[in-house]
């Protein structure tokens, strides 16, 4: 079972994303409420993918991503930004930062796992509906 790390300082969004990825997607989910904890978990647990809030106090998403890319233990992990930006993200700009893309908040609860998989290039069939 693949593991996804969700890093978001917003408890509502973090809880919803973790529930979607685990309940709908069937993933094992790790959660971090701040960038430092997220980096620690990424290094210690080596998740298969990371959903990273683009806008956090102290250290924002692009800074966290840069730290992940600098560390050989985490440099290979695909990262998808989580953003509440009113404007659609410019895919090229996310990719230029080293991310696989971005998911806009608020996100589609049942659709998040498939969206994440599409962005990071994981192929997998999903069975059943609620």
């Amino acid at each position: 079972m693949k593991r996804i790390l969700v890093i978001d300082d917003d408890a509502v969004t973090r809880t919803a994303a973790a529930a979607s990825l685990s309940v709908v997607g069937g993933y094992e989910v790790l959660s971090a409420g701040d960038p430092e904890e997220g980096l620690r978990l990424a290094r210690a647990e080596a998740p298969d993918g990371i959903l990273l809030d683009a806008s956090m106090p102290v250290m924002d998403g692009p800074e966290v991503l840069a730290a992940l890319r600098r560390d050989p233990a985490t440099s290979h992990i695909p990262v998808v930004f989580f953003t509440g930006s009113a404007r659609p993200p410019d895919a090229e700009s996310w990719e230029a930062l080293g991310a696989s893309g971005a998911v806009i908040k608020p996100f589609d609860f049942p659709g998040l796992p498939a969206q994440f998989e599409r962005l990071v290039g994981w192929s997998r069939s999903r069975e059943g509906t609620p």
């Binding site: 917003d10 509502v12 529930a19 709908v24 106090p57 009113a86 609860f109 049942p110």
Partner: protein, 129 residues
């Protein structure tokens, strides 16, 4: 939520926006059950006053950045739990903050506080699921 057709005098445009989006919570409930919905709404209602206070503190300090950050944070979580009017107000406040224009923000924050109360009243008891 039980009052999607209510209107509150928060402004001519916002008055046309439902207080809440029952479908947003219904989607959550279909996949995660009522317990997840309750957890999400409780988290939101616990967190929202802190965000509101952060925005008021930013306003008092004359910091458009702080106002913008607080509104931005509340915008997504409110939309996630279907608090449509709260989210719409946050969009407006965030926009003012981004533009460095804090002139209308006190009234918008007052409206935000009122809409949070309306949403809270609709979310309990049993209204959230």
């Amino acid at each position: 939520m039980s009052h999607a057709d209510e209107t509150v005098a928060t402004g001519p445009q916002r008055g046309a926006i439902p207080v809440s989006d029952p479908e947003a919570l219904a989607r959550l409930a279909r996949w995660g059950g009522d317990q997840l919905v309750r957890q999400m709404v409780e988290l939101f209602l616990a967190q929202a006053p802190e965000r509101l206070e952060a925005a008021r503190a930013g306003l008092a300090a004359g910091s458009a950045d702080e106002v913008q950050r607080a509104a931005h944070a509340l915008k997504s979580s409110s939309a996630q739990v279907g608090a449509l009017r709260v989210s719409a107000l946050c969009v407006e406040i965030e926009s003012r903050g981004a533009g460095g224009d804090l002139a209308g923000v006190p009234d918008l924050l007052d409206a935000l506080e009122r809409e949070l109360s309306v949403y809270r009243a609709g979310a309990s008891p049993g209204g959230a699921s």
